[in-house]
Each structure stands twice: as C-alpha cells, then as structure tokens.
Amino acid sequence: MVTLPEISEVLSAHPGVRRAETALVRHDGRDVAVAAVELSEYVSGPILRNHVRRELGEDSGLAGVLIVEHMPMTDGAVDAGYLASAVAEGRCILFEDPRDDVERRLTAIWSAKMNVRSVGVNDDFLELGGDSLSVLSIIAAIETEFGRPLDVYDFMSAASVRQLAEILR
C-alpha cells in the first residue's frame, strides 16, 4: 500500500510543483487520498494525479489534486477539512470510473486518442491535456462509434465524459 508521504514526495518532485501535501478526505462514505499542491508553473490537477498513478501504480489511491495558492495548514499538518470542502464544492475533481456503457465507450475513446491511461468521467478535457488535434480525432471517433454528428462547440462546452454522455444518450 502506498503511503500519503510517498504520494506527496512524487508530486513534489514534479518540475511544476513547489510544494505538495496529501491527506485522507471523507467522500461518499469512504476515505480517499487528496493532495494539495502549490505550483511554480501551471500544471492541471488531473495531469498531476495521473503522474502519481504512473509513478506509483493505478492503485496508488490518489483520487484528486487541488491546486492552491498557499498550502492550507492547521496544527502543522495540511488542513483535511479544507480539502474536503473543496471536493464538496466541486473545486477539486476526483477520479471516477464510468458508470455505464456510454461512459465506458467514451472513456476508451478519450484515453486512446489523448494517449492518457486514466480518464476520470468528470475530468475536464483541457485539464487532462487535450488539444485541438485530439479534439478532432476524438470527435471523429465518437461520430463513428455512436453514428451521429457531434458539433465541436458542443464537445467543448460538455468538456467531460459524463456531460458528453448526457448529450449522446
């Protein structure tokens, strides 16, 4: 089992990260690991999360990364309550697996076209590292897979697998 300090250590070693702290946060009735990071240059939460998953394994347990301006501390440790509220308010997107077939097929397309192993259904397309080239190939693949046209504007305003699935269902 990967420990929280190990996660923080891997994050801190990333060239875009100045400081990282990880804590357990209660979410949906279970404890999940969430990291807070201060950046020296812009990197997105999902990209950092996937970096940890690549280094420590998909089962490393890190669910989300919150970008902060200043590390929220309480009693000498990272403020887990602050992280929990960020998750509850939607400021920190947690990794989530697809819940049905449409989401599964979309996740597979995103993953293949963006060359990203872990695609959470709530991950934002741009934060996951999407670019204008992957937009086009993803849209083409979705149009083939689902047999219907998809507007590039609709794709960008949906921005996540889950919201895209709602359009396609």
Partner: protein, 500 residues
C-alpha cells in the same frame, strides 16, 4: 509529420513551380508576380545571406520593415527559413515608437539584422533598455525563451504602451495544424487565393501570411489600403479569402454602390482585432450573405478565441460568438464565477497556454490557478454560451457617473451623411468630471454645422451621451489594425483644453 519552413517552401515549389506564389506592387504600383519556384529561390538566397551575416555568439533577431511588398514577404520567409526570430517592423513608425520597440528587443537580443529592400542583412546594435524590475518577469522569461522564438509581434497599439509578444519557435508545417483549426473553420482552403490588405507588421495579417505561405496560397499584397482598389483586386484576382478590419469594412461600404457580384469569388471575409459596429456588420452581411462573414475575437493574445458567423450574429446581434476550442468563464472582481447575463471579466482557457513569459516586457495577462487567463476585457455570456463584450474600461467615458460607450457615440455620428469617420473622447468638465467630445472627419466637399451634428446625435442618443464639443479633423488616428488610438488624442486636451 512536421516540416521545417525551408523544406515546406521547397516542397511546394517542386510540386507546383509555375503557380503564382506572390503578387505585389512596386513604388510605381506596377504589378510584380513571383511563381513558387522564383519565390523559393529568392527566399533561399536571402536566408543564406542572413545565415552568413549572423554572429552566432550573440542572440540575434531579424528585423524586417514590413510594408506589404515583395521584399518584406521574402525577408520574413527567409528569416523563418533560417530559423532566426523575425520581428516585422512598421516602416512608418514614428522614431519614438520605433526606438521603444527596438529597446524592447534589446532586452533579449544582442543584435538585430535589418533586412533591407535588397534583402541584404544589415547588423544593427539594439539599444539596451532598462531591465525589468527585480522580481518581475526576467527570471520567468529566461534566456532561452526569445532566442527560440519563431517571430515577435508588436501589440498594444490601442493603448499607446508598446509591448512585444513572442511565438515560440521554430515555426513548423504540419498539415493538421496549418492553418489552425479555427482558421480552417472560416472557409479557408489549401492553395486558395488570398488578398492581404492589412500591413504585415500587424498580428492578424502577419499570421494570415504565414498560414498562406505554409498552406501554398497565392497571396496578393495590397501595399496600402484604398477601398476602391481592394474591391478591384478581389475581382481581378478572383480572391477567395480575405481578412479585413472594421475600418476597412466601413470604407468599402461607403463606396458608391458596392456591387455584390464583384465579391462572387470570395468564400469568406474574416474580421478581427477591433470591435465592429452593428451597421457595418449588417452592411457586409447584406453584401456577402451571412454565411461568408466571420468574426474572430481574442486571437492576438493566444489565450483563447471566439468565432461567430454572420447567421449566428443575426440571431444574436452584438455577440462575438462562442469559444472555439476555448472555455470561457466570467468572473467578478474577487474571482468568483457569475451567472449568464451578468457582466464580469472575461477569462478564457485553451489547450495552448501562454504564461507571463510570452511577453518581452511587463505587460502581461492575468491568470487563475486553474489556467484561465484574461487580458482584462469585460463582458457577459448568454445561456447558450455566446459572448458579448462591454467597452474596455479605459475607453469608457464617465459623464457625471453615467457610463458612455464611445463606440455608440461614434456609430451615431458616422450615421450622418456628411461624416466619414469619428472618434469620441472624454474631456474634463468642472461639474460632471468629464463630458463627451468628438473629432469628426467630413466627407470630401461636405459641410455641416456643429449644432446640426448635436441635433443629429440628440435623435439617437441620451442627452449625456451627446458630444458637447466638436472638432473637425483631416483624419482620426488609427492603428494598423483599425483600432482607434484614443491616447493620441488625449494629451491635446490635457495640455490645451478644448481646441477652438
């Protein structure tokens, strides 16, 4: 598959050696035509000359006086071929402006190589300016940032504070990326015939030229804007793609009876840079039909773009469109998102992010923690995600607490048959703080009394928006992009009050 500029030009020249690459005009307005083979040869020679002149021990850039001439086009292509960062300079820039720009370049480059009309590189020592303040962007920029730039462009012409933005280089051709997806969306086709009207030292015409070069266009360079001539060039060369500024659009509409048949070859007219007033927009939609009129907002800064086609605009007059591969967020003053319909600061996010490092001096964009960036424009989104911009803060005229959008006043003035152009500015007022004053350019041979102009405005505008002072001038100061340079009018009032 990404090819160097050198390789790409050679490929096109080999595939279609006799097809026209460039049409230009010399000082006597005699037509000059270069085939792709001739163009490729001239570019290769100039690139060799630049390479030979270059002092490799010093970071260097090429400076091309970028009027719309064949030597300028060849000089730009040569620098890109030699992979030397290229700065297209306004050949008509006043000395003070030119010095300020060269000083900005001097912060990052030891030498500039001026490509003259004969395409002989002349080494110039760049003036060294003050270093950026400590803790500023110097560290972020790093020494590598600008020596590896593909090109540098002067921006900020409408504020009067020159800044230079850099595009990381070297430039590459990739059929999937050139031109960008958003430009492809505006009716652009590989190998098309394009007329370039705006000057090559401005961002939009410059990048359109690069795309044209890499995407094997035939380019016609109009050396200076004259509306009748633009229309004639479109007809004579069966131009398919054209980019204009609202000022160009306005002047073309004012020609006696512009003939829609003369634009039959045109697949698209794209306008960008400055705000376009509704009358001008409608005029062009009438002229071309809504499907051939496109508008882009936000392209220059690279933080995101919106795109709107004429038919969408007719359904939502005034919009600049939806984000294209761009997410838009409207934030209030403390950074919280606001609901649709509420005005705030426009933040955008795209795959290609720019950081502070993308600017040579300290003029920078503001960014959020999650990668959204703004240049400070204000606006609102409707429920469907269409963006509407508010006038920029520094342009708004505050009349006793009432906000006046100078664009609205100018549009009303231009509506008068005797008026060809107008600028509204603030002038100090003892009790109201400021009132509106107007600089008016009259049609040749026309005359009108100031009282009549005031009455004309009174029929269209609320009382506080009516200009209280009118000045007749020969022309209004505009940047190459067609943006009104209000700052050029300002000192006039600060020092001397109202001119008689």
């Amino acid at each position: 598959m990404a090819l160097s500029v050198c390789r790409r030009i050679a490929d096109i020249a080999r595939a279609e050696p006799d097809r026209t690459a460039l049409v230009g005009f010399d000082a006597d307005l005699a037509q000059q035509v270069l085939s792709w083979r001739e163009f490729a040869d001239r570019v290769a020679d100039a690139a060799d000359a630049l390479g030979a002149a270059l002092d490799r021990r010093t970071r260097s850039c090429a400076v091309v006086p970028a009027g719309n001439t064949l030597p300028a086009a060849i000089g730009i292509a040569a620098a890109l071929t030699a992979e030397v960062p290229v700065f297209p300079l306004n050949p008509g820039a006043p000395p003070a402006e030119r010095d300020a720009l060269l000083r900005l370049l001097g912060r990052r480059f030891g030498h500039g190589y001026l490509m003259d009309a004969q395409l002989r590189p002349q080494r110039m020592d760049l003036p060294t300016g003050p270093e950026p303040p400590a803790g500023g962007s110097a560290a972020a920029e790093g020494p590598g940032q600008f020596s590896t730039a593909a090109y540098l462009l002067a921006t900020g012409a409408s504020t009067g504070i020159p800044k230079i933005s850099a595009r990381p280089g070297p430039l590459r051709y990739d059929p999937a990326w050139t031109p960008s997806v958003v430009i492809r969306q505006t009716g652009w086709r590989t190998g098309q015939r394009q007329l370039i009207v705006g000057p090559l030292y401005h961002a939009a015409p410059f990048t359109a030229f690069l795309d044209a070069l890499l995407d094997s266009n035939t380019v016609v360079l109009q050396p200076f804007f004259a509306p009748q001539w633009t229309v004639e060039l479109v007809r004579r060369y069966a131009i398919e793609w054209l980019q204009l500024t609202p000022a160009h659009m306005r002047e073309i509409l004012r020609l006696p009876d512009p003939d829609p048949a003369g634009f039959a070859s045109l697949r698209a007219m794209l306008h960008t840079a400055a705000r376009c007033d509704a009358d001008t927009k409608r005029g062009w939609i009438d002229l071309l039909g809504p499907e051939r009129v496109y508008e882009l907002y936000g392209a220059t800064e690279g933080i995101g773009v919106t795109l709107v086609r004429g038919d969408e605009w007719l359904a939502r007059p005034g919009t600049v469109g939806r984000g294209f591969l761009t997410q838009i967020r409207i934030l209030d003053d403390i950074g919280n998102p606001v609901p649709p319909g509420t005005t705030g600061t426009v933040f955008m996010r795209t795959p290609q992010r720019v950081g502070r490092a993308d600017y040579v001096n300290d003029q920078a964009i503001r960014t959020t923690l999650d990668g959204f960036a703004t240049v400070g424009d204000h606006g609102r989104l409707d429920r469907d995600g269409y963006l509407y911009l508010e006038p920029r803060d520094h342009d708004t005229i505050n009349v006793g607490g009432e906000k006046v959008d100078p664009d609205e006043v100018e549009a009303a003035l231009r509506d008068h048959p005797a008026v060809i152009d107008a600028v509204a500015v603030a002038v100090p007022h003892q009790t109201l703080g400021s009132v509106v004053a107007a600089h008016i350019v009259l049609r040749t041979g026309a005359s009108v009394r100031k009282a009549e102009l005031a009455a004309h405005c009174g029929r269209r505008l609320a009382g506080y928006k009516i200009p209280k002072h009118f000045t007749f001038v020969d022309q209004v100061p505009r940047s190459a992009a067609g943006k009104i340079q209000r700052w050029r009018l300002a000192p006039y009032h600060e020092n001397g009050g109202i001119p008689p």
